[in-house]
């Protein structure tokens, strides 16, 4: 029914849309759900890419689901002690943030066309640029370590889309996944430390 190119475009739109939701939502549980779904959509996108082995895409999906579970547990524990941590008033209104996500997507498309990389697929570059931009925006606009951490991991997710498609070495790919886990662990540690301070 759909051409492979069209399916890939749709998945990219889904990834970008979900990343935009992570940016626009205020509730941390909503953010986390959107982030987990974005990770799954990112895995599906990698499955559509011929350069990436299918097993790696599956691992990417599993990784996102596990990290989302870890964050949910950390977030719940932090919320029990400090209501303020998770539901602080946002710095920028949600509608403006959604608009910023759209702007970043358009900018990423322009950049992928204006500055193409010879061995990277332009469609993957669009997803990478958008996710890095949105992740950076989430990280810089958020006050709580958990939300800022979701931004950092969105950036890493975006980068992995590009990295998995250009890197042949399985060791390097494994180390990149290890870095995501390390960042997740640090975010949980920061969230817990903040909870201790607030308590």
């Amino acid at each position: 029914m759909f051409e492979p190119w069209n399916i890939r475009e749709l998945v990219i739109l889904a990834v970008v849309g979900l990343a935009g939701l992570v940016l626009a939502l205020d509730d941390w549980r909503g953010m986390l759900l959107a982030w987990a779904l974005m990770g799954v959509a990112g895995g599906v996108l990698l499955q559509q890419t011929t350069e990436v082995p299918r097993e790696l895409a599956g691992i990417q999906i599993l990784n996102s689901a596990l990290l989302a579970l870890l964050f949910y547990l950390a977030g719940r524990r932090a919320r029990m002690t400090t209501q303020k941590t998770m539901s602080a008033r946002p710095v920028v209104h949600g509608r403006f943030r959604a608009l910023a996500a759209l702007f970043l997507y358009v900018l990423a498309r322009m950049m992928a066309i204006r500055f193409p990389l010879p061995i990277a697929s332009p469609s993957l570059l669009i997803a990478t640029y958008t996710l890095i931009g949105i992740g950076l925006l989430i990280a810089t606009l958020s006050r709580s370590p958990l939300k800022a951490g979701l931004g950092i991991l969105t950036m890493l997710n975006g980068y992995q889309v590009f990295y998995l498609s250009v890197q042949d070495s399985l060791l390097a790919i494994g180390l990149m996944a290890g870095m995501s886990l390390l960042v997740a662990f640090l975010i949980v540690a920061l969230t817990m430390a903040r909870q201790e301070v607030s308590a």
């Binding site: 010879p118 061995i119 890095i132 950076l136 990280a139 810089t140 006050r143 370590p145 800022a148 951490g149 931004g151 950092i152 950036m155 890493l156 980068y159 990295y163 250009v166 890197q167 070495s169 060791l171 390097a172 180390l175 990149m176 290890g178 870095m179 390390l182 960042v183 640090l186 975010i187 540690a189 920061l190 430390a193 903040r194 301070v197």
Partner: protein, 461 residues
């Protein structure tokens, strides 16, 4: 199998879990320092047989092969690792009297171990993951009782972004080697290295996390973080230049380093005027001090490179003093804001903060002044305005420090008394540091092989 090298790499990771349960006891600091000093001793006591793997580079012992990748120790690496672990030992001792620095010992050893692997591992694209891991792990040393989280969170953002820039730069550098004659890859490599350094070294506009770490983080943990990132990047960049010899020959190389150095020195001097607090001003003084080192390296001349290597030793002593002073100040008043500890109630703390700050901005009679003076003389004929600007920059920072000293005490806060042993340790440390400051020019001369490695790469003469 090169067993001595395996031991060198494994010891920090074996020691970290042993120190972790001891972190709340007074044993942890001397134990961690002893491990770090033992590593330096090990580097020099072991009779490493010279092996030649590449015509242009001899290694100390045969390379160690792990998972199909090689780890090799060269003479330059020996100097770099000695400096890193030697300074780490001093940092651990500095944190000794302060309970809120307890995470530093195990995490510092693990981060140092990861950075060591990153420096020695080839290909460099894989080493990037280990240096990146070390940089990220340092975020844990910044946490402690009563310390703010904003600095640690901002640091994590900068470290993650910097790591991504390094990984992509390594990939682009490999592409440039595989596809010679394509300017895209060399330009991309240079651009990404510049971005990574801006993020990791706290160059304007990505400087805010450095100040937050000193103002609200655990002070010795913050000092350890900026030390490992700054010194580690200096050695890391040397490893890059050795692996990709075309890199220092690029026209943008010197420009990037010089721009960074100038930005660090001038922006910190101007911005410090609008800030208050010993921690924040100390952070600016550190930025200005490391900027001089990068500017000197970026000059690409024999004198500049020697000067850059020489300042490595001078800066660490002043940084240690600043960290100790800030930690003592925080211990007494619960904050690093100015005016909390009056001069009559903590004279040695204020003297340490002021003295270390002045040493960082290279005020006379501290030995850093000779470095600043030499650099000014080097650059005065070609860039007179710039030379005057950074002499003026040091003056502005000095004014900011003096203003902290003269600031009248605001609200009266009850001071927590320092234990007598810690006060004596502080005074002894202050004296030792003063002595170190004056002997550091001679200690710095020992780092000549590091400068020679750069000069050999640049083919200057």
């Amino acid at each position: 199998m090169n067993f001595p090298l395996l031991i060198l790499l494994a010891v920090p990771f074996l020691a970290a879990p042993v120190i972790y349960p001891l972190r709340r006891t007074p044993l942890a600091a001397p134990f961690a320092a002893a491990i770090a000093i033992a590593l330096v001793g090990f580097l020099w006591i072991v009779p490493w047989p010279i092996a030649t793997t590449r015509p242009d580079q001899a290694t100390l012992g045969a390379p160690l092969v792990l998972l199909g990748r090689s780890l090799r120790l060269t003479e330059t690496d020996r100097w770099a690792l000695s400096t890193l672990w030697g300074c780490a030992a001093l940092m651990f001792l500095t944190a000794w009297p302060f309970r809120f620095e307890r995470r530093l010992y195990p995490i510092g050893l693990a981060a140092g171990g990861l950075w060591t692997i990153g420096l020695l591992l080839r290909p460099i694209s894989l080493g990037t993951f280990f240096t990146g891991g070390a940089a990220l792990l340092l975020a844990l040393t910044l946490l402690g009782e009563g310390h703010g989280m904003e600095g640690a969170t901002q640091y994590l953002i900068a470290a993650s972004l910097g790591f991504l820039a390094w990984v992509t730069a390594a990939w682009a550098a490999e592409q440039a080697t595989l596809n010679p004659g394509q300017p895209l890859w060399t330009t991309l490599t240079m651009l990404l290295i510049g971005m990574a350094m801006v993020l990791w070294l706290g160059v304007w506009p990505a400087y805010r996390w450095v100040l937050l770490l000193f103002a609200e983080g655990a002070p010795v943990g913050a000092a350890f973080t900026v030390f490992l990132l700054n010194y580690g990047t200096w050695f890391w960049l040397l490893a890059w230049a050795q692996e990709f010899p075309w890199l220092p020959q690029l026209p943008g190389w010197s420009a990037v380093l010089q721009t960074m150095g100038i930005l660090m020195m001038l922006s910190s001097a101007v911005l410090a005027l609008a800030e208050r607090g010993w921690g924040t001003i100390g952070g600016y003084a550190w930025l200005a001090s490391s900027g001089l080192s990068w500017l000197a390296l970026g000059l690409g001349t024999v004198e500049g490179i020697h000067l850059s290597a020489w300042t490595l030793w001078i800066r660490i002593v002043a940084l240690l003093g600043l960290a100790f002073g800030l930690a003592a100040y925080r211990r007494m008043s619960g904050s690093t804001e100015s005016g909390r500890v009056p001069l009559d109630q903590g004279p040695w703390v204020i003297a340490l903060l002021l003295g270390s700050g002045m040493a960082l901005i290279d005020a006379p009679p501290f030995p850093g002044f000779t470095a600043r003076w030499t650099l000014t003389r080097l650059l005065l004929p070609s860039h007179p305005l710039l030379s005057l600007a950074w002499i003026g920059g040091a003056g502005l920072l000095g004014w900011a420090l003096l203003r902290e000293l003269l600031r009248p005490q605001g609200e009266t806060v009850p001071l927590r008394p320092m234990p007598r042993s810690a006060v004596w340790f502080g005074i002894a440390w202050w004296t030792a540091e003063l002595l170190l400051l004056f002997v550091s020019p001679w200690l710095g001369l020992q780092l000549r092989p590091l400068a020679d490695a750069w000069i050999h790469l640049s083919l200057l003469e």
